[in-house]
């Protein structure tokens, strides 16, 4: 039930089926009622016709006139489905039975008193269903003897059932088609009504992937509030992060300037105590540096504009060449054209800066940076960055350790330590991946997978 349209369709489909079901049952019952009544009427009509046509024979039996108005000819055709008999109150005395009943045994039931009527369903010998109607009549014959006779007519239900089923088929077929048409209409309406929701979803995805900075306008009244609030949230979040970083920058400046003053004041002194204080100043500085860097990394934010990675790497390469001008090294950068990082400029600069710095520090003379896009990876890991060097590398045993979280700033980790732990934290913030491998150049290869496009 995680789809609105499925919910809507189901919530409409269930009452629809119940409504149609009940309607069908009611219609079926009333149709059966009507059909039964008309069957009984026709049976009654036959009985009346039979009574009118019945003539007592000299031997005491009855013989209805062969052709008389209202009497069905089917009565004289054997096995026609319409049967009749006349019986008296004495058991086994059946003065007349229709020709149609010849060769079949039909139990017309016991005789009934004069003036009574009776209807009941029965089964013929061959198993076919019958409806039997009977009427008790009191006759006074020529000898003025009163004779009570019971006139019965039986009809098979074959035609009745056929009618009933035809009616049911039509009813069900009609409702089935109607349901389909209604559902199709509903599906269409739901699609139409939910199309702004779909658009909202698409735009949010675009914001997530960094192809849009905020949501567009023109939403229906019910959704425009959501869209506006989301936009406010997006922009607010971005501004908040910016302010946060600014104040962190000010804090860093505020803390480090006095440290710098202390440092330069102490440098002039030669005592043992001054040396201790200088060491502590360096330690404080390292802690401030580490914690501020950690706090300042922004991580993935919605609506971040993607940024070209190549100019950034060109600048960083120049900065590295400047920093390592006393070491003869070659830094080669190759970037797949138009590769973009989706995230904060400060974060990616810090990531690449730290990794390239490590590589330059540990290499013999070669550092290689490769940036490619993996279009089949999920958006959060689409940008692949490999940074390798020809230095001593990182042994397998050390790989887990250098990535450990919360490595304290004053803990002197040899090799790629501190920088890498921080890089890993930032990569985690973006839902990316970091792997340490052995480079074909001989040293370490750090592979990052980050949000990109």
């Amino acid at each position: 039930m995680h789809s609105l349209s499925r919910r809507l369709l189901l919530s409409l489909f269930v009452p629809l089926v119940v409504f149609f079901g009940v309607t069908m049952v009611v219609l079926d019952a009333s149709f059966r009622d009507v059909a039964q009544r008309s069957l009984r009427d026709s049976l009654d009509a036959q009985i009346v016709a039979l009574i009118a046509a019945a003539e007592q024979q000299p031997d005491g039996s009855f013989e209805p006139a062969a052709v008389s108005p209202g009497l069905e000819t089917r009565l004289s055709t054997p096995g026609s489905g319409l049967y009749a008999q006349i019986q008296s109150t004495e058991p086994g005395d059946v003065p007349w039975r229709s020709n149609s009943a010849a060769g079949t045994f039909i139990d017309f039931g016991p005789p009934i008193a004069a003036g009574e009527r009776r209807y009941f369903p029965a089964r013929a010998q061959d198993g076919s269903e019958l409806e039997i109607a009977s009427r008790g009549i009191s006759f006074e014959d020529e000898k003025h003897v009163r004779r009570n006779l019971t006139f019965s007519v039986a009809s098979t239900l074959a035609r009745y059932n056929e009618q009933l089923w035809r009616f049911r088929r039509e009813l069900f077929g009609g409702f089935f088609v109607l349901t389909l048409v209604l559902l199709a209409t509903l599906g269409f309406v739901v699609r139409w009504v939910l199309s702004p929701v779909r658009r909202l979803e698409k735009e949010i995805n675009a914001v997530e992937e960094g192809t849009r900075e905020s949501l567009g306008g023109g939403y229906p009244r019910e959704l425009s509030g959501v869209a506006t609030n989301l936009n406010t949230l997006l922009i607010g979040e971005r501004n908040r992060l910016e302010r946060y970083r600014d104040s962190l920058g000010n804090l860093a400046h505020g803390l480090k300037t006095p440290l710098a003053v202390m440092r330069s004041t102490i440098e002039g002194l030669a005592s043992e105590k001054a040396r201790v204080i200088a060491g502590e100043v360096d330690r404080m500085n390292a802690i401030v540096e580490h914690q501020l860097k950690r706090a300042a990394s922004g991580g993935a934010l919605l609506g971040q504009a993607p940024l070209e990675i190549e100019p950034l790497l060109v600048d960083l390469r120049a900065a590295m060449m400047q920093v390592y001008m006393r070491k003869d090294l070659s830094i080669t950068v190759s970037v797949q054209p138009s590769a973009q990082f989706v995230g904060d400029r400060g974060d990616i600069t810090e990531l690449l800066g730290n990794l390239m710095d490590n590589a330059c520090k540990w290499c013999k003379e070669r550092v290689k940076v490769d940036v490619t896009l993996d279009p089949v990876a999920e958006p959060k890991q689409r940008l692949r960055i490999d940074i390798e060097d020809d230095g001593p590398g990182i042994s397998e045993g050390d790989r887990a350790r250098v990535l450990e979280r919360g490595v304290r700033a004053d803990e002197k980790v040899p090799g790629h330590g501190l920088g890498l732990a921080m890089v890993r934290e930032t990569v985690d913030l973006y839902g990316g991946r970091l792997a340490i491998e052995k480079s074909t150049l001989g040293g370490a290869r750090i592979s990052l997978s980050l949000p990109g496009r």
Partner: protein
């Protein structure tokens, strides 16, 4: 040597003034960005130290303005935030090097020396000698518009030659330039770098950018075609 120090923190400004004066600089001081801009444009400054977090006008803005006014003296940035982004932005704005706070004065002094020795400084964003183009901002080199991958030493050697196109440079001079404090290195190394540089720039031996002057050194033979 006249040096401009733009730093808002009085303590650091004073200790820098003292230390710089001690090693022989003639120091001008400024406490904020606007003062810095004034001093940088009015006085014949040879080199400047600029703090990034300045009141009134940020250090980055100050550097940009100075470069706009075609001030080409080398600039060393002081930055409290030891972030790569600040370094990259600083270099992009037109600074030449940077030192993070808190610093050892020896470090600052060494960087200043290196910048002064480089001379020419930020004089040109791009040096072009015939088919050879050197981008001092990006530290990249192109020959006939094709990127050539140079190491740090090779790049600096070429930059040195191109800044002094036409001049004869001795092995000793080049050694000093390359190794700075470590001049004791074998000067043979320079020959190794020259060979490598020739091979990379001119693999088919058509351009002949370096002319060997027997007994003296080398001369960059292609004249500067463009200097902006």
């Amino acid at each position: 040597m006249r040096i401009l120090v733009v730093e808002d923190e009085a303590g650091i400004r004073e200790s820098l003034r003292e230390d710089l004066a001690r090693v022989g600089f003639n120091v001008d001081l400024a406490a904020d960005g606007e003062e810095g801009l004034h001093a940088g444009t009015q006085y014949p400054v040879d080199i400047a130290i600029i703090d990034l977090g300045l009141p009134k006008m940020s250090g980055l803005e100050l550097i940009r303005r100075l470069r706009e006014k075609s001030k080409t003296f080398p600039i060393l940035i002081l930055t409290a935030r030891d972030r790569w982004q600040d370094k990259v932005e600083g270099l992009e704005a037109g600074a030449d090097d940077y030192v993070a706070k808190p610093f050892h004065f020896e470090e600052v002094h060494a960087r200043l020396q290196a910048l002064l020795r480089r001379s020419g400084g930020w004089a040109t964003a791009e040096l072009v000698c015939g088919p050879i183009a050197l981008d001092t901002r990006r530290q990249t080199v192109r020959v006939n518009d094709k990127a050539v991958d140079l190491t740090t030493y090779e790049y600096r050697l070429l930059e040195h030659f191109m800044l002094r196109a036409g001049q004869v440079l001795t092995r000793t001079e080049l050694s000093e330039r390359m190794y700075e404090e470590d001049v004791e290195r074998e000067s043979n190394n320079i020959d190794v770098f020259m060979t490598r540089l020739r091979r990379k720039l001119d693999p088919k031996d058509e351009l002949k950018p370096f002319e060997t002057i027997r007994g003296r050194g080398w001369r960059f033979a292609i004249p500067r075609t463009k200097a902006e």
